[in-house]
C-alpha cells in the first residue's frame, strides 16, 4: 500500500444525491399518510391548522431559507480560499439553525402548555381527526427537527474542519454534501409549512 488516498468527489456527490432521494421517499410516505388522513378529516385538519401560530411558522421559514443561503455563501468562500469569510458564513448558518430550533421549542412548549401533545388527556377529548392532525404535526415536525439537529451537528464538524484546513480550496466535497443535506432539510420544511400552518 502506498500513501495514496483515493478521492472520488463525483462519487461522493452522487452518493449524497441518492441518499437524499431515499430521504424524500421517507418523508413521501409521511406526506401520503398526511394526504390520506386529510382527505378523511378535512374539517378537523382545517380546525387543527387554525390553532398553529402562522407568524412563528413564517418567521422560521425565513430563518431556515436564510441559513440555506449562508451555507451556499460559505461554499463559495471556500472555493475562493477565503477562510475567515467561510467560517463566518458557516457560523451564521449554525446560529440560524439554532434560532429555528429555539422558535420551534417555544411553539411546541405552547402546544404542550395547552395540553396538545400525543396521548394527553385534553387531546383525548378532541375528535379523532384532530388527534390525528396533532399526531402528524408532532411526528413530522419532530422528524424534521431531528434532521435539523443532525444537520447542525454535521455543519459544526464542517466549521471545525474549515478552521483546521481539512476543508480547503481544493478539497471541499464534504462541505458541499453537508450543504446538500441542509438544503433538503430546508425543502422539507417548505412543504411542512403549508401542510400544517396554512391548512386553515
Amino acid at each position: 500500500m502506498t500513501g495514496h488516498i483515493h478521492r472520488d468527489d463525483f462519487g461522493a456527490r452522487l452518493g449524497m444525491w441518492l441518499f437524499l432521494v431515499t430521504e424524500m421517499v421517507l418523508f413521501g410516505g409521511l406526506f401520503i399518510a398526511y394526504s390520506y388522513m386529510r382527505y378523511r378529516y378535512p374539517a378537523e385538519f382545517h380546525h387543527g391548522g387554525s390553532e398553529l401560530n402562522v407568524t412563528l411558522g413564517v418567521i422560521n421559514t425565513v430563518v431556515l431559507l436564510t441559513s440555506s443561503l449562508t451555507v451556499v455563501l460559505a461554499i463559495v468562500a471556500v472555493q475562493r480560499a477565503e477562510k475567515q469569510r467561510a467560517m463566518a458564513f458557516l457560523g451564521s448558518t449554525l446560529a440560524l439553525g439554532l434560532t429555528f430550533l429555539v422558535i420551534k421549542s417555544f411553539e411546541w412548549g405552547a402546544k404542550f402548555h395547552h395540553g396538545l401533545y400525543p396521548n394527553s388527556p385534553h387531546l383525548a377529548t378532541l375528535p379523532p381527526g384532530e388527534q390525528v392532525f396533532f399526531g402528524l404535526y408532532f411526528t413530522m415536525t419532530g422528524l424534521h427537527g431531528l434532521h435539523v439537529i443532525v444537520g447542525l451537528s454535521v455543519l459544526g464538524v464542517m466549521l471545525w474542519w474549515v478552521a483546521t484546513d481539512r476543508i480547503r480550496q481544493d478539497r471541499y466535497v464534504h462541505l458541499e454534501n453537508s450543504g446538500l443535506y441542509w438544503h433538503l432539510v430546508d425543502v422539507i420544511w417548505i412543504f411542512l409549512l403549508p401542510l400544517f400552518y396554512l391548512a386553515a
Binding site: M1, D8, G15, L18, V21, L26, N119
Partner: protein, 540 residues
Amino acid sequence: VNAWLARWLYTTNHKDVGILYIIGSMYFGFIGAVLILLVRVQLAIPLCGAGVTTMCWPSATQTFLNPSAFNQAVTLHGLIMILWFLSPLAIGLANYFLPLQIGAADLALPRVNALGYWLWLFGGITATLGFFMPGGNTAGGWTAYAPLSSSGFSPGPGPTLAFAGLIMLATSITVGSVNILLTVAVHRGPGMTWRKIPMFSWFMLFTIIAMLFSFPSLLAALMLLISDRVLGTMFFTASAGGSILWDDLFWFFGHPEVYVVLLPAFGLIAEIFPVFSGRPLAEKNIILICTGAIVIPLSYMVWSHHMFLTGVTLSEGEAFSVATILISLPFDVIVLAFIKTLTKSSIRLTVPMLFCIGSVFLFIIGGITGVFLSSFVLDVVYNNTYFIVGHFHYVMFGGTGFGFFAALLYWFPKMFGKMYSKKAIYASWFPMFVGFNMLYFGMLILGMMGMPRRYYVHLPQFHTMHVVATVGSWLLVLGLLMYFGTLLYAIFKGEKAEDNPWGGVTLEWTIPSPPPQENFEEIPIITHGPYDFESQEAKS
C-alpha cells in the same frame, strides 16, 4: 485472538463484510428454520376428538405451542427469513463478488458498508430479543397489520423491540443500497462498459433500485407505528381508515421486496447457466430490458393486489389485477431465455448447475400459482389460505433459496480456496428437492381444500396433508443439514481448490482463490464480454 477479533470487528474490506453478512444470515436463517420446525411439529398432530383419540393434543389449550407462541413463531419466521436471511445473503454475495466482477478494488463507501452491516446485525438481535420480553414478541404476522400491531392488541415491549429492529434494518438497507448503486455507477474498472457488466452485477443493480424507493416507505410506516406505540399518537388506530393506510405504506414496500429477494437469484442463475452450458446467455439484452424497464417500474405499481380483501373497488381491483398479470410476462420471457440458453448446449451437470435447474423448476411452479393469485376473483378464495403460503415459498425458498445455494456452491472455492465433497452435495440435493415439494405442494393442496394460514390447530380433513408436509419438512431439513455440513467441513478440511475450477470467464475467476486483500494486483483492463467463452479459450 485479539488481532483476529479486531480484524473482523473493524473491517471495512468488502470481502470481509460479505463473509460477515453470509455468516450472519446463516445464523438468522437457523433461528428462522427452528421456529418453523416447531410450528410444523405442532401442525402434524391433530386435536383429540372427532374420532381421534391417540397421538393428539388433549385440548385446544394443551398443545405443543400455545396459541401465542405459535403466532410469535410464525411471525418471526416470516420476518427473519425474508429480511435477515434471504435479502442479506444476496447482499453478502454482492458485497463479495460485485466489486470483483466489475473490476473494482472495493465498494465505493467501505465505512458506510460496515455501518450497514452492524446496523443490520443489531437490528436482527433487537428483533429477536423481543422473545425474552414479558408478553413475548410481535405475533400479528410478518405484515404487522394495523390495528393488530397497535399497543392495544399487541401490548408490551416485545413488539416495540421487533419494530425498532425493523427500523434499524430499513436504515441499514438504505445506506447499503446507496453504496452498491454508487459502486456500479462510478467504480467500474477501465473498459468495463455497461454492456460488459456480468449478469449478477446487473441484477444486483436492479435489486438495489427496487430497494432504494421501497424501504423508505417501510421506514415511514414503522415510524408512525412506533410513534403510535410509544408516544400514543393514533395514526393506525383512529378509525377503520388507519389500517388501510398501514396496508398501503407496507405493501408499497412489500411488493418490491418480493423482487428484492428474487432478482439476485435470477442474476445468479444467469451467471451459472452460461458457464455450465458453455455458451453465452441467450437474449441477454432482452432479459435486461425486461427486468430494468418492465419489472422494476411495475413492481411499484402492483401493491394493491395484496389488498383485494380490504374492500378495494372493483375497478381498482381490476387495474391491479391487470398490472400484476403484466408483471408476470417479463418473467416468462426471462425463464424462456434461461431454457433457451440450455437448449442443445453441452450441459455439465455440476452441483451448482443442479441447484440452478432446481431453482428454475421450482420458480416456474411458484410463478404459475402466482398468476392464480393475481386474479381479483380467485384471490378472494385463495388469499389467507395455505395456497398463498405454498406459492410464496415456491418463489422465495424454491426460486430464490435454491438459486442462492447454487451460488454458494459456485463461489465457495473462490471464497475459501477449498473444494467441498461434490458427492455429498449431490446426495443432499435429493432429500432437499423431494422434501421441498412434499412440504410446499402439500401446502398448495391444503390451500385449495380451504385450510386458512396462521391457525395453530386444524380440522380433521386437513390432517393427512399436514402430516405429509411435516414429513417433507424433515426431509428438507435433512438435506439442508447435509448441504451446510459438507460446506462447513470443507472450510476446515477441504482439498485445495484451483483458481478457476468451473472455467468461468468473469473477472473473479482471473485472480487467486481466496482473493488477495486488494483484489487485483493491477486493475484489469476489460476487453471481452462476461460470457465470451470462445475468445477466452482461444487465448488460453
